[in-house]
Amino acid sequence: MADTATKGVTLSEAIVAEVGAGGHATNTGYSNEKLGMWVFLGSECLLFGGLISTYLLYQDRAIEGPLPKDLYDIPFTSVSSFVLLMSSLTMVLAVSAQMRGELPRARTWLIATALLGGIFISGQVYEFTAFVQEGMGFTTSLAASAFYTLTGFHGAHVTIGIIMLLSLVSASANGKIPKERAETVEIVGLYWHFVDVVWILIFTIVYLIT
């Protein structure tokens, strides 16, 4: 404040200059929205940590019905994991295109990401249906409840991500997300990549380490 006063520049002028130069007029100097998303993702670690820990504790607890690990279809889940991993690539390509101002290409990558997310969710619905037909419902056992709660919460996050992606596509098509607002796409991208990162953990801990 002292410097701006000495130079004869008001605080509001300094803020306008900073924002105009690509900076952020916040107390930290960083974008509040982006910092908020990172803090939110940090808190999500606690949610998924709790769900994964619960599954690890109860994975062998079943008085009746099959255990989840007896029903896993590893080749199928591996393909699902690959699809979600590739959706992270299309997402980062969308952010990259948006930053360069190539808006139609960014929208194409966003749609591709949503489609890959849709394929992943379809796979999860198929898996859940197959497990129920094998006799493992949500309340069949502690192991089944823990499995469905963990993977179901992850699936809900993916579904919310798809809704966010389609909203972005719609807003971009209406000209509401120009190149200057690339950070909006980046923030949605952070959420999407986090969902992928959580699945990296679930795939290894739940499916592969039995």
Binding site: A2, E18, S43, I74, L85, S88, L89, S96, I200, L208
Partner: protein
């Protein structure tokens, strides 16, 4: 005020400069993010690591199976965070915000699982 306002910004620039010292500048766009080709290379590596994980599941190398699976999982986790989520290039403050939650989660749940392991009758 000026000190508190300018310090984070200069810190951010320094962080960007430092982080660029150990990467190939041919793969970096002028907007300080990796090129599309670099992202594709990272995705290929991630896909290969996933193939390695599945191979370990079907051909387990004895007692090393679980440690190797966990190691591969951590490598994939860190690669997505650093490259796709741009923590390698962004301000360290974002890393701190995320690691605070991640570290707390790991500490709390390792403690919880240890209690069940050591104290369960």
């Amino acid at each position: 005020m000026s000190t508190t306002e300018t310090k984070p910004e200069s810190a951010e620039v320094e962080a960007h400069d430092d982080s660029h010292d150990d990467i190939n500048h041919d793969d970096i766009d002028h907007d300080m993010h990796p090129s599309d080709w670099k992202y594709i290379q990272i995705a290929i590596i991630l896909a290969l690591l996933t193939v390695a994980e599945v191979a370990l599941y079907y051909f387990p190398p004895g007692p090393f199976e679980v440690p190797m699976l966990i190691a591969l999982m951590i490598v994939k986790f860190v690669m997505v965070l650093m490259w796709f989520m741009h923590l390698k290039f962004d301000s360290p403050m974002f890393t701190k915000a995320f690691v605070a939650g991640l570290g707390l989660a790991v500490t709390v749940y390792v403690a919880v699982l240890s209690v069940f392991e050591f104290w369960a009758g």
